[in-house]
């Protein structure tokens, strides 16, 4: 079942379209990544999906409900963490969550129980009576997440949720996304962090200059656009790059105190490098192989269009 479905969404803020004919489908239970550079059209798309922006043309349906035709009903099925994750700074942490839960029509007992449970889970129980204006950015983001998940929404939208967060807060956001997904929420997350998308998402779309240029699983996109991998190797001795050239190696470049060797056949190259080290009396300090990356595929795709 398609939980999120857009057909030819189009929005322009001038002569150049911000989003042009974006059609995506997100199946129930997926974590769907919407990737793109800054200004590619990710936030514009998510704002149209969540009813914050009215599209020039096209449709968006959440759980089968058209967001333009019946916004109240469609919005009851979603939780949204907007970019910058803002919440009401003049309310306490708990009041923010309780008021949001009330907006979704939860009764008093369930909203109080759910708010308490989420505050504990997000490590904010001891600060529940403090005004949000006294919180750090990471803590505000946690309250924003709490508000978005308090009603256990079937669909969760996150717009760049980890941007500017410290490692702990970032981990907490990612863990919460995974947990919500395990508990049955379908997730759409926008990000320009490719590794984050690779680690989280079961399907992704890449948007560039307002148009979708690829849609598939991260693994298939990765292998479709780049078949070469690389090996990073470092030696105790200083060497010249040309020492490492052997069959199957396309190029060699220095990366810090290591050498990066690009190859189509990692297995053969590792064996060749071991031979070269043996012949030249070089002591290998470290060696690591890397398969083609989603980042590489992303760069190739966006540079090509």
């Amino acid at each position: 079942m398609d939980v999120i479905e857009t057909r030819n969404l189009y929005k322009s803020f001038g002569p150049v379209p911000a989003v042009a004919d974006v059609s995506i489908t997100v199946k129930k239970g997926e974590i769907f990544g919407f990737l793109g550079q800054n200004g590619a059209g990710k936030t514009t798309t998510i704002r149209m999906l969540t009813g914050v922006l009215i599209p020039d043309s096209g449709t968006a349906r959440i759980c089968g409900i058209d967001i333009q035709q019946d916004p109240l009903e469609a919005k009851r099925h979603m939780g949204v963490i907007p970019e910058n994750g803002t919440v009401y700074a003049d309310l306490t942490a708990e009041k923010n969550i309780l008021w949001t839960a009330k907006c979704y029509g939860m009764d008093r007992a369930s909203r109080e129980e759910k708010a308490r449970e989420i505050l504990i889970r997000l490590g904010l129980e001891s600060r529940k009576d403090d005004l949000v204006r006294t919180f750090s950015k990471g803590m505000r983001q946690r309250i924003s997440i709490a508000c978005a998940i308090v009603h256990s929404p079937p669909v969760l939208f996150l717009d760049e949720p980890t941007t500017g967060l410290d490692v702990i807060s970032r981990r907490l956001v990612i863990d919460t996304v995974r947990r919500m997904n395990r508990e049955g929420s379908t997730v759409l997350i926008t990000t320009h962090n490719i590794e984050e998308a690779n680690a989280l998402c079961s399907a992704i779309s890449i948007i560039h200059k307002g148009r979708i240029i690829a849609s598939d699983s991260p693994e298939r996109i990765r292998t479709q656009y780049d078949t070469s991998g690389f090996i990073e190797i470092s030696f105790e001795q200083k060497i010249q790059g040309r020492t490492l050239m052997a069959g199957g190696i396309s190029r060699v470049e220095p990366i810090g105190d290591k050498w990066r060797v690009y190859t189509d056949d990692a297995d053969r190259t590792v064996k060749d490098l071991a031979k070269i080290a043996e012949q030249n009396h070089l002591k290998i300090v470290s060696v690591a192989t890397s398969t083609p990356s989603l980042e590489q595929a992303f760069i190739e795709m966006t540079e090509a269009t």
Partner: protein, 247 residues
């Protein structure tokens, strides 16, 4: 659209506004202190009949207090970036506008009711027509809360700009509505009082308290109802346009 969900969304927006914006400095200054100081400025040292002057003061108090929260809410939320969160909740633009109007109206209604109660207690004010008084409170608070919401609708995230703009609109209305300057002394400019909705509110208060209103209370009420519809529709048109343009 389920009417119960819609009404709930209006009440939720109202509750949020009451919790957050009633205590903001600009609401207290422009909604409470400003009309009170204006009253003292014009009253002290002049031989004015307080009972005759009181309907005008009540009208001014309701005008300022009801229209003081509206101009703050939307620009403030856009600056704090909470507006986007609000719109993504189960609300529609009409719930936001009605919630803003209701919160302004409740503020104006409560404050002005207290002033009337205090005035009645201290000055032993007469009460000629209680029904008209209630109508004046209801319609006046809704009309000027709608004005406040309309004033906040242009796309901006700078509350001080809107507060300045709202005073630019509100202050001239005070002087053409027969509060400080009797309509008879406005001379050739007397026709301007008919353009101000505040004139009709003050007239309703006159009818209710002293029984000497100029226009019929039905006409006054009808004008205020039309004003509410015009201001609320105007706010909706502008805010809907903002949703299209992404501002």
């Amino acid at each position: 659209m389920d009417p119960r969900c819609f009404i709930w969304s209006v009440l939720m927006v109202t509750e949020k506004n009451m919790r957050i914006y009633y205590y903001k400095g600009s609401v207290v200054i422009f909604g409470l202190l400003f009309p009170f100081i204006m009253f003292l400025t014009f009253f002290i040292g002049r031989n004015l009949d307080l009972v005759l002057f009181f309907p005008g003061f009540l009208g001014m108090m309701l005008f300022f207090s009801a229209s003081s929260t509206g101009p703050l809410i939307t620009p403030w939320e856009k600056r704090e970036k909470t507006y986007e969160r609000l719109v993504s909740l189960p609300v529609v633009i009409e719930s936001i506008i009605l919630g803003d109007i209701l919160s302004g109206a409740v503020f104006g209604f409560v404050i002005t009711s207290l002033v009337w109660l205090a005035g009645s207690f201290i000055l032993h004010l007469p009460l000629e027509n209680p029904v008209v008084l209630i109508a004046a409170f209801f319609l006046g608070s809704l009309a000027f809360a709608s004005l406040g919401t309309l004033l906040s609708s242009p796309a901006t995230n700078t509350p001080s700009n809107i507060m300045m703009f709202s005073n630019l609109v509100r202050l001239p209305l005070i002087f053409v509505s027969g509060i400080f300057i009797p309509l008879s002394q406005l001379g050739e400019w007397a026709w301007t009082n008919m353009l101000s909705p505040l004139t009709y509110l003050v007239d309703l208060f006159h009818t209710a308290i002293t029984g000497d209103g100029v226009y019929s209370p039905i006409l006054d009420s009808a004008v205020l109802i039309i004003v509410i519809l015009i201001f609320a529709t105007g706010a909706k048109v502008i805010q809907q346009h903002n949703l299209h343009s992404g501002r």
